[in-house]
Amino acid sequence: MSLPQLGRHLALARRGGQTVLIWSDRHFLKFAAWPSLVIMIAITAIPFALTLALAFTNYDLVRYDDWRFIDFENFRIIGRTRQTTTIILNTVYLVVAAATLEAAFGLALAMLMAAKVRSIGLIRSLYLLPIMTSPIVVAMTWRAMFNNNAGWINYFLGVAHLPQPLWLGNPLLAMPAVIISDMWTGVPFMAILLLAGLLGVPEHIKEAAAIDGAGPLQIFRYIILPWIRPVMFVAVLLKSLDLFRKFEGIAVLTSGGPGFASTTLNLHVYNTGLRYHQLGLAAAWGVVMMGVIGTSALVLYFALGRTR
């Protein structure tokens, strides 16, 4: 069939956004999307299923032909472990504190970056650099900077006659050190995402409000903030998911220490499974972790995501 003939066979009717198509075209969307589905399922379905199954066994890499199903015993062990509360609290602490601080500072930075002046494009791109640097490099560098004796942070604090805290050795400061090092990449990340939202606020609304006598603070509170709410939700969600899976930044900086002071769920799953070879127990911790992540995502959705 020639193209014009094809065209004659096309019937276009709009029903709620859907277009009726001829036979080969009807399947196009399927064919476009199914490779993704096939690949995701092919790669992850079996490992996910295995992980779920492992959570109910006492599989240990060292005695791997000697395992059996133990029902919920792993979960009972988790319930009995002394450090469980600490680990979960550490995780929540990291995610809430880091996400909040980064959202706040990120918004401030974004407001600055929204300035329409020359060379703002270059400045915005330079702020992208921390995000673009390999996390392992970032982690090793911050470890050197936080070193109690040889690190620059304490050195410069000393030069300014400020107290030089024991960053990596004090249980109370270990997590703050992790959060600070995360902010170095997190604040620019949030700023770039929020900048989009800020640039999208229509000028005429702001001008109208200014004409009506609203001051900058009121414009911010009643116009800008609500407008960027959807963007804020996406940004905070993405950042929180990243914080849950934060690995090198903690393992390299503090190894989860001192003791368990900076161990998060992700790090603990890693230790249990890969260092101590207790794969069954690690999988159970993984299930607990998914529960925490799912709950947090829901909480975030109800707080920020629902549009009025």
Binding site: L61, V62, R63, N148, N149, L166, G169, T254, S255, G259
Partner: protein, 447 residues
């Protein structure tokens, strides 16, 4: 011309067979082996330079892979358990023997050793120091060939000793604690060991040799033959716990609770700590003026055994050369293992300064090697080899499984406010729970 073509084909086939017959005489031409070991470590950096010689001698090509500690320690068990044939030979600490044998991941080596076609007399198996070889044997079967016998010893700074008026290194834990206190000044701390709960067992083990008895060659200072956990038994547990807490809370660098081996090493190299107890393998790092500011003022010492453990009080932790059970070229792999652990290789490595604690008796006593070793070290090494405890982890499959409660307990001794009593009791309970879940008490295994 069919018959001419046939003749030609027959000739080709004959030539091919001839060629094949000839090449089998060479044995291992074209075989490729993969070896995995640790990166940035002087001993293994040295062996890497020998691989061309090995290829020249045997025709076997070696992929010499060095990776970071974490990668090596975590991937090897994965590869062994998955029976991955891409790994042939590897180096790791011998304390893993329990887990490797548990998954049948490594080849027993006795049949290779006694095969005179593969192993010439000159290689001299008997030359390997028995105390060290012991750590590579399980149930009477040899699973690895030890390359070096890292020993736990005390590194100390002679200048700081002089300044504090101390004339000789300490002879017992009380003196050690006392000197550490005197050596704690504004410029430097007194004593350092690994404090982080990912690495602290290695050094704590060296220290508790002065507080606990050595029961037997299979479970060392960990369990007696009735499976009682020695480390938890009072009054030794409280004695050790209080001493460990005091020396690390009062005389160690700030932040000791997160100290890894690199932190103590760097502090010592930079003249920030006076005494440091750890593996002898780092002597080259400390004596190299390119890396260390204290290369001229470092000496070494092995504390004498205390009454509670008079014969086996020094950590001897051999690094073993192992062959993956799933290797596709076990005989070629054995040739590589022989090469790496031969007398010639060890002497050369020792003189080069990258292997200071060779596993061969003849090499330790070789005059050239002795002349190249640092002064105070030879005395310490003799003492270490004479009183070895090679059971860094008990030689049972659960060796790795009992680590978490011990590592965490040791960390809690310096970080938590709970009494020593409580911490040690918790450690014991944790270990006992794991042993019980694994089915103990079981019949005691043979050495």
């Amino acid at each position: 011309m069919k018959w001419q073509r046939e003749k030609f084909l027959v000739l080709l086939i004959a030539l091919a067979l001839l060629a094949a017959a000839c090449s089998t005489d060479d044995g291992y031409e074209g075989v490729e082996l993969t070896l995995m070991t640790y990166a940035s470590t002087t001993e293994f950096d040295y062996y890497a330079t020998l691989m061309d010689d090995f290829t020249r001698e045997t025709g076997i090509k070696v992929n010499y892979v060095q990776q970071p500690v974490a990668a090596q320690d975590q991937k090897i068990p994965l590869l062994l358990a998955a029976k991955d044939p891409s790994l042939d030979v590897f180096f790791t600490g011998s304390e893993n023997i329990g887990s490797y044998v548990g998954v049948s991941g490594v080849l027993p080596l006795d049949s290779f050793i006694s095969d005179s076609n593969l192993t010439p007399e000159s290689w001299d198996f008997a030359d390997l120091a028995p105390a060290i070889l012991n750590a590579c044997q399980n149930g009477g079967v040899t699973y690895c060939i030890p390359s070096h016998a890292g020993g736990g010893l005390l590194y100390y700074n002679t200048r700081m000793f002089e300044e504090a008026g101390i004339t000789a290194p300490p002879k017992n834990p009380d003196e050690l604690l006392d000197y550490a206190k005197r050596l704690t000044t504004d410029e430097h701390a007194g004593f350092c060991v690994r404090g982080d709960n990912t690495q602290n067992l290695y050094t704590a083990f060296q220290l508790w040799q002065w507080f606990y008895p050595y029961d037997n060659d299979v479970t060392g200072t960990y369990f007696d033959k009735d499976w009682n956990f020695i480390i938890g038994q009072q009054p030794n547990a409280n004695e050790f716990g209080s001493w460990y807490r005091e020396i690390l809370q009062k005389t160690a660098p700030a932040g000791i609770a997160t100290y890894l081996v690199t932190n103590c090493l760097e502090d010592f190299q930079q003249g920030r700590v006076a005494m440091w107890h750890d593996d002898s393998g780092m002597i080259p790092e400390v004596l190299d003026p390119e890396k260390s500011r204290v290369s001229e003022e470092t000496a070494f010492w092995s504390l004498p055994c205390q009454a509670v453990n008079p014969d086996n009080c020094t950590l001897v932790q051999p690094f073993g050369t192992w062959i993956n059970a799933a290797s596709e070229n076990p005989e070629a792999a054995w040739l590589l293992v022989q090469f790496l652990t031969s007398k010639e290789t060890q002497i050369a490595a020792a003189i080069d300064g990258s292997l200071l604690t060779p596993s061969r008796v003849s090499v330790v006593n070789n005059p050239e090697v002795v002349a190249s070793l640092p002064a105070t070290f030879t005395e310490a090494l003799d003492h270490i080899l004479a009183h070895p405890d090679a059971a860094l982890l008990p030689f049972i499959p659960e060796g790795v499984a009992i680590l978490p409660p011990m590592l965490n307990g040791l960390s809690e001794l310096i970080t938590s406010g709970d009494s020593v009593d409580e911490v040690m009791a918790r450690m014991t309970a944790g270990v006992e729970e794991i042993m019980k879940a694994a089915g103990y008490p079981k019949p005691f295994p043979e050495g």
